[in-house]
């Protein structure tokens, strides 16, 4: 029985790191290869030893698909390909391929910087890993091998994020990765066609939430930044190299332009140029507004945002600085934070999630006295704000996507168990489909009944049409022909064509039956009586009496013979082809009832 099997190694009832194994009709695909930022040891990577108990990974996995560049979706990739030893193809979109190594490099530098970790992937490994990537375009069907194909759909969320349809024969699975059903400042909304997959694997971060308009959050953000710089304070916005940073940059740039503000905005580590480059390169991935205005003005060429120099942090007066990394756990953002933390006029805005142990996490949980190295205590007097800018579909959006794709069943990942449970019930009630939510390590098995496509020969189709039966798309029809399986494809052809193609001689198969009749007359007379009886009974059929004494009705042949032991009994030999099986059976039954009395 063909089946689809799904086992999350990560993102099963959690939001830590995504890594989902899918097996469709013997093809094995790994969806995302994420890393958990909350751990500093091996636990940060999924346990890949569960992928296969025997044999090499490269032989087992047919491909790896990465949905987008966030580290919880791609952070373990260089480890997996260069250290664990996967040597097969990795698929992702072009923007993801371009941006992924920047974030991986960013993370590597922090990991090595902070802990001097020797057993971590190197720059060369990141590059070698990226060379194994096959970049795909949206809506392009990519043939991984003869049987496995994949197709990317727009997912919103971040630049280059994609949902993937994975298809083997007639079976398919759609994996959404992270997606957003409402357009934001620089990206559009996710979209998928009515592809009716056997299974839709969807993220469920906001499974129970209906999110407020992003406009409100943006307004709040701008108000807070503006107020701070107005009173002469400095604003620090810790960000990761690419992604949310660009959205916030557009937001501030537009606001600065509109309000004609002169306060400097800086962006650290030369990322503005890089972002600019990629956003220009992948302008088709942004939203309609940005694409439309691109000719007059590129939204990513910032007038007000300048490159940051380390010395600027000591400059007097207000300023806004975007600095990496995003959780205030090392490097420049932490250094600036330490300088500015003591002044209540200043503000730090955390635009994203922070893992435990980081300074970002501490100040967000309200801690104001931080113990730093050397027993120094840093008193945080600056204002601390949290603004969630993560772009995930909310409950409404998830339901909308399920409705759009019309899957046969749904599987929830990337969310919390309690919330998933609520959404699961809602999906099952509303769409009348099964909904699963496996924990990490649990396998969901879905039996499928595959429909096998069969090509029909033109000759056979024409013959059907001659009989006046035009094909109708929605009405099943019975069609007789010969099924040929060749080169793993199926074709229905006429029996003549099949014989010709296969170089076979025709053999006719006849069904035969003996009917005993009580009749003392000669065989020829019995045959004549049979002829008359049938001629009278079967008015619509062509009944013939042949010179050799046998009787035919269509393809049915009836011969009379004497019984070897009983001269009062005649034996009727009835034979027919399978085409006339119905008539043959009818005749046999008719003859078994005996012949009418002959007129004396």
């Amino acid at each position: 029985m063909p089946e689809i099997r799904v086992t999350p190694l990560g993102a099963g009832q959690d939001v830590g790191r995504s890594c989902i194994l899918v097996s469709i009709s013997g093809k094995n695909v790994m969806l995302d290869c994420g890393m958990h930022m909350g751990y500093n040891d091996d636990r940060r990577f999924p346990d890949f030893s569960y992928i296969t108990q025997s044999g090499r990974l490269t032989d087992f996995l047919d491909c790896v698909i990465i949905s987008h560049f966030h580290l919880d979706h791609c952070g373990a990739l260089p480890y997996f390909s260069e250290m664990v030893g996967y040597d097969g193809p990795i698929y992702m979109t072009h923007p993801t391929q371009a941006i992924c190594p920047i974030l991986l490099e960013d993370y590597r530098k922090i990991a090595v910087d902070k802990k001097g970790e020797a057993n971590f992937f190197t720059s060369q490994m990141i590059k070698d890993c990226m060379k194994k990537v096959v970049a795909v375009h949206l809506h392009q069907t990519v043939q991984v091998d003869d049987e496995l194909e994949i197709k990317a759909y727009y997912a919103g969320h971040v630049l280059g994020a994609a949902m993937f349809q994975i298809k083997v024969g007639s079976e398919s699975v759609v994996y959404t990765g992270d997606y957003n059903m409402t357009p934001d400042r620089h990206l559009g909304a996710a979209w998928i066609d009515k592809c009716r997959p056997n299974l839709l694997i969807t993220e469920s971060t906001y499974a129970t939430t209906i999110r407020d308009s992003k406009r409100c959050r943006e307004r709040d953000f701008l108000k807070k930044v503006h107020e701070t710089v107005e009173r002469g304070g400095k604003v620090l916005i810790p960000v990761f190299a690419l992604g949310r940073a660009q959205e916030l940059c557009i937001l501030l740039e537009t606001f600065w332009e509109r309000m004609n503000l002169k306060v400097p905005i800086y962006f650290s580590t030369g990322l503005t140029e890089k972002a600019n480059h990629y956003y220009k390169l992948f302008i088709t991935w942004t939203n309609q507004k940005i694409r439309k205005t691109f000719v007059q003005r590129n939204m990513f060429e910032f007038k007000h945002i300048k490159a940051f120099d380390r010395a600027f942090a000591d400059n007097p007066g207000p300023m806004v600085v975007f600095a990496t990394p995003g959780m205030l756990h090392a490097g420049q953002s932490l250094q600036i934070f330490r300088k500015w933390a003591g002044n209540e006029k200043n503000m730090v805005i955390m635009p994203g999630y922070c893992v435990q142990g980081t300074v970002g996490h501490k100040i967000l949980s309200g801690q104001r006295k931080l113990e730093m190295e050397g027993r120094q205590v840093l008193e945080v007097k600056m204002q601390v704000e949290y603004m969630s800018f993560s772009a995930h579909a909310d409950a409404k959006g998830i339901m909308q996507l399920v409705g759009q794709a019309e899957p046969e069943s749904v599987l929830l990942v990337h969310g919390e168990a309690k919330k998933m449970e609520f959404l699961r019930q809602k999906i099952e009630q509303e769409f009348r489909v099964s909904c699963y939510m496996p924990a990490n390590g649990e396998t969901v098995t879905l039996p499928t009944s595959p429909s096998i496509p069969v090509g029909i020969s033109l000759g056979l189709l024409k013959r059907e049409m001659v009989q006046g039966l035009l094909p109708e798309a929605k009405k099943p029809r019975l069609l007789h022909g010969t099924l040929i399986m060749k080169d793993s494809s199926f074709r229905l052809v006429s029996s003549e064509q099949a014989l010709k193609e296969l170089g076979l001689a025709e053999h006719q198969l006849r069904f035969t039956c003996r009917v005993h009749l009580q009749d003392t007359r000669k065989e020829q007379e019995t045959a004549l009586r049979v002829y008359s009886h049938l001629k009278n009974t079967l008015k619509d059929h062509c009944v013939q009496h042949l010179p050799d004494g046998s009787v035919t009705v269509e393809s049915i042949l009836i011969q009379a013979a004497a019984h070897s032991e009983d001269p009062g009994t005649k034996v009727l030999l009835v034979s027919w082809t399978y085409q006339d099986e119905e008539l043959g059976s009818f005749l046999t039954a008719l003859l078994k009832n005996g012949l009418p009395q002959a007129p004396s």
């Binding site: 086992t7 025997s54 919880d72 932490l334 999630y353 435990q356 980081t358 801690q367 924990a439 390590g441």
Partner: protein, 822 residues
């Protein structure tokens, strides 16, 4: 336990026990367990429980029917296990009936949360931690836990099922460790109850008709023989090998992979007498019964065994060679030298059978090529190694893949159709081809290899991955193609090959794919590093446009490519192979490259090219590159100036590396000129060598190093600290008996350093005299700083106090920022 942690613990336990409080994420609980484990490595668990009643309260709290979250339940189960690992604490917990309440049938098993895999996993891990002593064994036997573990072997969660199997092995080993000794080892009936129970269960499972159960039993045995090497394992195998042998009589053989793993695990055991236990026969029988795809891993495993009969090795090697032998047989046109496996007992495998399923055939070929590649690199590699037929087969496969094979038979044609354009096989074959370069091959075959490599490099169909692997294989063949031992010169054939290779390389350097341009540049760099000094190589290189193109790629839009181009251009220049040859009359061209590199260093927006430039510069400085020694001081000063403001800490660190190379060289030179350092007693050295120290101040190397010492990125500060320590140690021998602060200038320097420490960087140190520098150097506690920097920069945040504070601080505010991620 740290007093601060002890102070925070009660509040934390209260939070954990309160079902209304949302506990921070799973990572916090994991880290908390890590901490408890560390604490209990040095402290007595019982005292810890008695000294901190809040812990006991938390543990007992779980026994009361309440709506505690599954993650806290799982945490408590694991925590109890850690405590109960020490026998006295185990007794204490058992007296309070806590253990039975948690791990017994009325405990976790009866909770609604039991259907959560995390709780079942916590239950297993808890038991695994506590199963360390005889009391634990009695508990396991009496509480019925072992039966639950049996059931959990078939758990829907892979993690739980695997952990259950591991736990069974752990318990078996523990039971046997103290339970059976001397003659009773061979008497299974005399084994401890727990061990008997497990072995009986495994035996029953082996007789089962259900494959999953057989698999579970086999997995337990595989782990047992892999981990336990005591004499009792011999008795175990003696008892269980008959039911294992019976599995081979079934059709189809159940759980083939697990069965193979078991046989190999048993064969690797150092305590078994294989001849007596019939293992070799079993292996031979298995090898002959399985399909080629199934038998491959077993054959490789068998060949890796230390003491394996030659006959079995031959059989195993035959299994590995079969697919390639078939291909060779199907494609060989004329009778030639004997192919693979010719003359050996016939194999039934034919290409027809192989070709019945394309994907299975491709899978088998890839697996075979990878196995052979692995085998060739091992000390157990079969001897004689059939180098020639293997090479022929690999070249044939590559030709079938790229479509250049000329099949004469219909089977050959079908092979062509199946493998044509198959990147998967091509990749595997190229990897193996590279490894085959280690053997000795006849010249005509080497030429054949070069020809197929050229064809692949040239083909427009070759994917970037295939090209990368082809470059790697080419390099290995070039390295191994020389005939004269201890001579790295290229053979004449290799040179001829290079003549054809460079035009292709030229084309690849212009590829629209950055991956290809980059691989081509990396390949070029390796070539020059190996053979750049050879006249013939130079000639072949210069007859192409490769050097010019490599330099043009310094402007590539892709930063990876720019970085590789820097490496290649640097190598070219080191060997005097740059695009425009330098001559004494025309030094500008060469100088141009130096300036290009300086430009990249100060303007490139990406870190990779800047880092690559510094690597090249350091190498140039070390090797005494002509442009560097022309004015070394200017060179070092310019580089350090550019590097000091770089935002990439790795660039700054490499700048320090360059500074160190300069220091070592300058000291070497200075010691030659300094009459005071060598041969004369120290007392007679009146002052440090002024010229050398002046240079350091002028560059300004001191300023760069002091600045780096306060760098926000730890590795930079660490490197600067090492550099200054080195400098201090070296200058001590040159310096006089001055004390810190003697110099009139040092007070101002100290003041600047103080300001820096407070965070006002960017202020120059100003013109400083060498004496002042030396004084500061001596006054700094560099050793102390080195010790501090050796700790990770987040050691404070990673501390248990920080963890407990964070967990407590998060209570109540989780709802606000809930479920946010990227």
């Amino acid at each position: 336990m740290d007093p601060e942690c002890a102070r925070l613990l009660p509040a934390l336990c209260a939070v954990l026990a309160d079902p209304r409080q949302l506990v921070a994420d799973d990572t916090c609980l994991e880290k908390l367990l890590d901490w408890f484990k560390t604490v209990m490595e040095t402290e007595c668990s019982l005292h810890l429980l008695q000294d901190h009643p809040c812990l006991m309260e938390l543990l007992s709290h779980v026994l009361k029917p309440q709506d505690i979250s599954p993650r806290v339940l799982s945490f408590v189960l694991r925590l109890v296990g850690i405590f109960a690992a020490q026998e006295d604490c185990f007794q204490y917990l058992q007296q309070g009936e806590l253990l039975l309440g948690l791990f017994g049938e009325t405990g976790a098993l009866s909770w609604a949360a039991w259907n959560m895999p995390s709780v079942r996993s916590g239950w297993i891990q808890g038991l695994c931690s506590l199963a360390q002593h005889p009391s634990a064994l009695h508990f396991l036997a009496d509480s019925g836990a072992v039966d639950t573990i049996f059931a959990l072997q078939g758990d829907p969660s892979l993690f739980v099922a695997s952990a259950a199997s591991q736990l069974l092995v752990h318990i078996l080993a523990l039971a046997m460790q103290g339970g059976a000794s001397g003659s009773s080892i061979s008497e299974a009936a005399a084994w401890p109850v727990c061990a008997q129970k497990i072995v009986n269960h495994v035996e029953e499972s082996l007789h089962s008709k259900a494959t999953p159960q057989v698999t579970q039993a086999l997995n337990v045995l595989t782990t047992t023989f892999g981990r336990c090497h005591s004499p009792w394992t011999g008795a175990l195998w003696g008892r269980l090998s008959p039911p294992v042998a019976c599995l081979f009589e079934r059709d189809p053989i159940p759980a083939v992979h697990s069965l193979m793993d078991l046989l190999l695990s048993v064969a690797r055991s150092p305590v078994l007498n294989f001849a007596a236990c019939g293992l070799w026969e079993m292996l031979a029988q298995t090898l002959s019964r399985l399909s080629p795809t199934q038998a491959g891993p077993l054959a490789l495993g068998t060949l890796k065994l230390q003491h394996c009969p030659q006959e079995l090795r031959t059989q195993a090697f035959g299994v590995l060679l079969q697919p390639l032998a078939c291909i060779l047989k199907a494609t060989t046109q004329a009778p030639g030298p004997p192919g693979l496996l010719e003359g050996t007992a016939g194999s039934s495998l034919t290409v027809d059978a192989l070709l019945s399923s394309k994907s299975a055939f491709v899978g088998l070929l890839c697996q075979t090529l990878a196995h052979l590649e692995e085998l060739q690199m091992l000390p157990q590699c079969p001897c004689p190694w059939p180098q020639v037929p293997l090479l022929e087969a690999t070249v044939t496969i590559l030709r079938l893949c790229d479509g250049s094979a000329n099949p004469s038979s219909s089977v050959g044609g079908r092979l062509c159709g199946t493998l044509g354009g198959c990147v998967r096989v091509q990749r595997a074959a190229l990897d193996f081809l590279g490894t085959l370069s280690q053997g000795t091959s006849p010249l005509e075959l080497v030429l054949e290899v070069f020809s197929v490599l050229l064809k692949t490099l040239e083909s427009p169909e070759s994917s970037p991955t295939v090209l990368k692997k082809t470059f790697q294989a080419t390099l290995r063949w070039l390295q191994n193609s020389h005939k004269i031992p201890n001579c790295s010169d290229l053979s004449p054939d290799a040179l001829l090959f290079l003549g054809e290779l460079f035009p292709i390389l030229q084309k690849r350097l212009c590829s629209p794919c950055w991956e290809v341009r980059d691989s081509a540049l990396e390949f070029l760099t390796h070539l020059i590093r190996h053979w750049g000094g050879q006249a013939d190589f130079k000639e072949a290189l210069h007859s192409s446009e490769v050097p010019t193109l490599a330099c043009q790629l310094l402007q590539d839009p892709e930063s990876y490519v720019r970085a590789s181009a820097v490496g290649a251009a640097g190598q070219l220049s080191s060997r005097g192979l740059q695009a425009t040859p330098t001559s004494p009359e025309n030094p500008q061209a060469q100088q141009g490259l130096l300036m290009d590199f300086m430009h990249i260093l100060s303007t490139d927006s990406e870190g990779f090219p800047r880092r690559a430039v510094l690597r090249v510069f350091t190498e140039w400085l070390r090797d005494g590159h002509a442009d560097v020694i022309r004015d070394t001081e200017w060179f070092v000063a310019t580089v350090l100036q550019a590097v000091s403001r770089d935002l990439d800490w790795e660039v700054r660190m490499q700048g320090l590396e360059l500074a160190q190379v300069f220091l070592i060289q300058a000291m070497g030179r200075s010691s030659l000129h300094c009459p005071y350092t060598v041969g004369l007693p120290e007392a007679t050295s009146p002052s440090p060598h002024p010229e050398f120290l002046q240079t350091l101040c002028r560059l300004p190397l001191f300023e760069f190093a002091f600045c780096a010492l306060l760098d926000c990125d730890r590795p930079v500060a660490q490197k600067a600290c090492d550099l200054l320590l080195f400098l201090r140690d070296k200058t001590t021998s040159c310096s006089g008996p001055q004390e810190a602060g003697d110099s009139p200038n040092s007070a101002s320097v100290e003041a600047v350093l103080q300001r820096w420490r407070e965070g006002e960087q960017g202020q120059p140190l100003g013109d400083l005299e060498p004496e002042a520098m030396l004084a500061i150097l001596r006054s700094l506690d560099l050793e102390g700083l080195q010790g501090k920097l050796a700790k990770s920069s987040d050691h404070m945040e990673k501390s248990p106090q920080s963890l407990l504070q964070d967990m407590l601080a998060t209570v109540g505010i989780l709802e606000e920022n809930e479920a946010d991620c990227y």
